[in-house]
Symmetry: C2
Subunit: 461 residues, 2 copies
């Protein structure tokens, strides 16, 4: 993934205006920013971290190229000296992050950047853009995986994903969360995800006879054929499939599955299963699709619908019931001083942080604690070193390793969090060290504000 | 926009498996497909067509490159002869479409492709992906534009848009719908959209004193400065701005606006306005942001909040209240024969169609009719020729022309459709010719199904 997705201008303009102001002020001390989700949607009991690999690619490749420089000159906002300084721009900072596939909760930093201020500021928009989207999709996909109880799940969502990158990254995020594959061919080439697909209704309709369509398709793909049977009359089509399967067996062509894309999937799948079984086609699987999500999966599986696999599209790829996360990338420390927005009546948690997770003897999570990054707390630290001085600490894990890790993370959640409905929230506690720092910062901010006003009342700037 | 967004593999695998089946069957007669939205969300009284320019770019540049060919070979599903045929693949078809910025309604074809079957099939996934997303965003953005009543609107949504392309295309779609500009720098370079941005809370927080931050930023950007005033204490910050504005005037530095990003925007903006006005800063505008959408705009403006401009992000860029359209790209005709999925109990509308719109003497829309493309009906035909034999009929309109056209389209809607709440649906009627064709096709499909079964019962295939 490169091109405009790698452009240094793929950011909010204010990141660059702030950089210029910092440049003219000579401000470039070390800044710590953290990405976190403030509050989970009522429709989510947990979130699954995803997108780190793309963040690392972005940070590693970040440059202002000739076109970027030319635009900055032409737009009339920036000083020549500042623009020149961008020619050598590189990301030289440190990154610590939860590995992709980690389950996390509100206010927990998922990624922490420690870098010279201008670098840490510029990357805000794209880091949020990447972590927000893949985490959003992986989290909804994980709910589908839990609801599917081991049945096959295929991502069907390119067409209504929000653009090309959303289609490709949601194929990745859903595979990471446990989906078996995707329908999107380019996601197979980019990420090595298993790819699936056979025919649309248009294929049937373009033929004068449905049976001709089936027969010819089976001959074109003798090893793996799924026939779509709901174009005209689903049960009649299932009976045609039975007859066809018999005659194709003699030619060593196997029909592997039928797909149903409309109607009452529970009722129709039962009738189709009966027709197939009575026709000695017990080996033909039933695959279903059409506006499905985790609730539909739970309902169909709960009723015992004989469906072996599901195509899940739009609702997963747009996270339709919660299409964004309440996430932020916030300055936590600058030049060694903790920093924070002062929200009246709320305790904010500044400083460079770590999340510690405790588990019981069976490996089930029993509590998280937010702490200062150098505070010693019981439990496993969730943020791990990813980059130091702009370089990777280790080769990033492969997608299959991430997928296995995500599976173990989902398995290690308390049962309540695995339910689709709202569970008692899993809220991290706050360490004594962090609380103490927050209180001290609050007092410092109040003193600074008072000093600031006093300066103003005494003198002109 | 090129690279993977232009890959021929940015499609569902089934488009390519169908192509191979058509290739082995020698089927490549002319096919007509149409893109349309089946039903509008209850949260939308109209939709605004967008995305055609990107569709045309995609169709014009569509090629299977070496990497695509190599992957098709390696994946083991496709025949060498078929793969070889793709080296010369070009889109050679015709495109008719509603110009971008056209208001449209349920079941109205927005785009019609007439092309050799394999070409028309392959492009399905990306055409839907492009038209769906920009139409989704333009439609929500248009609601914000109507609610804003002429106040400035800036797209703030890159960070929580669903990936890079979503961020960039939502900047385009919202500008087309009437937004004044975007915060996304790369959208300015790609589409020439006016770009805005100054500072985040982190800029204030990185300084030991808020006033120092303001003063230094104003010196760094003496021509255009918007100061963010809600980091610590909004009213105290507004008073600092007044004092600072006085001292900066002597240096010919003007503060153009303050931004408020949190709190009760109505109450806070009134207090800030009063402080600014009392401090002889009536020329400093107030800009507001933070989880805004058309409902918040209507509410704030209805109450008379003294806000001059708004930053609209997440809720517009994800179309959060209706994050997808119930849209489809369906085969309507093959080899001169109308085609259709047979949904029991529903009349489907096959064939190559046109939409005719009638207006009253004031130019206000009074009714649309779906008709056969060659039927003569009263009103203006909405689908216009865009490509013939794979080539553009005329240079595409510029974004500013599209924006003006969209404005006139929104102004020409009946008042009810411009309300934010649900209006009486504007439903196109169906022409006698089209109804007649649908009935004939229904009878033909029934006859074909009966023939198909009869063939099966008599013989083996």
């Amino acid at each position: 993934m490169s091109h405009y997705t790698q452009s240094a201008l793929l950011t909010d303009l204010y990141e660059i205006t702030m950089m210029q102001a910092y440049f003219s002020e000579g401000m470039n001390d070390r800044a710590v920013f953290e990405f976190f989700v403030r509050k989970l949607s009522p429709a989510r009991n947990f979130l699954l971290a995803a997108g780190l690999e793309q963040v690392v690619e972005y940070l590693s490749g970040l440059r202002f190229d000739q076109d970027d420089i030319a635009w900055l000159r032409a737009c009339g906002l920036f000083d020549p000296g500042f623009i020149e300084s961008l020619r050598d721009f590189r990301f030289t900072g440190d990154v610590d992050a939860m590995p992709e596939g980690t389950v996390f909760f509100e206010n927990e930093p998922v990624l922490r950047i420690s870098a010279p201020l201008r670098e840490a500021q510029l990357v805000e928009s794209r880091i949020i853009n990447l972590l927000h989207f893949q985490t959003l999709i992986a989290s909804r996909a994980a709910r589908c995986v839990i609801a599917a109880g081991g049945r096959q799940l295929i991502d069907f969502g390119l067409r209504r994903a929000h653009g090309a990158e959303a289609g490709l990254l949601s194929a990745r995020a859903s595979h990471l969360a446990g989906f078996d594959g995707t329908a999107t061919a380019a996601a197979a080439t980019l990420f090595g995800i298993p790819v699936f697909g056979t025919m649309a209704h248009s294929y049937i309709e373009a033929h004068d006879y449905e049976t001709d369509a089936y027969c010819r398709f089976a001959h074109a793909f003798p090893k793996r054929t799924t026939l779509l049977i709901d174009t005209y009359d689903t049960e009649a089509a299932a009976r045609q499939v039975v007859r066809l399967a018999r005659s194709l067996r003699a030619q060593a062509i196997a029909i592997s599955a039928v797909r149903i894309d409309s109607g009452d999937l529970d009722a129709v799948s039962r009738r189709v299963r009966a027709i197939l079984d009575e026709g000695d086609c017990g080996d033909i699987r039933i695959f279903a699709s059409g506006n499905l999500d985790e609730y539909a999966l739970q309902d169909l599986i709960g009723k015992g619908a004989p469906i072996d696999g599901f195509g899940i599209g739009t609702r997963m790829n747009t996270s339709s019931d919660a299409p964004y996360l309440d996430c932020a990338y916030k300055l936590m420390e600058y030049a060694g001083q903790p920093r924070c927005k002062h929200s009246m009546g709320k305790v904010n948690l500044p400083g460079s942080k770590q999340v510690y997770r405790r588990r019981d003897g069976n490996g089930v999570m029993v509590g998280d604690m937010l702490a200062l990054h150098d505070e010693r707390i019981e439990g496993d630290p969730l943020l791990k070193p990813v980059m130091r001085d702009g370089a990777l600490v280790a080769a990033p894990p492969g997608l299959q390793d991430i997928r296995r890790y995500a599976g173990s993370q989902l398995a290690g959640m308390p049962a309540g969090l695995r339910m689709l409905g709202p569970a008692q929230a899993y809220v991290p506690s706050v360490s004594p060290g962090l609380l103490d720092m927050a209180r001290k910062l609050d007092a410092w901010l109040r003193a600074q504000s008072a000093n600031d006003r006093a300066r103003w009342e005494g003198e002109a700037v």
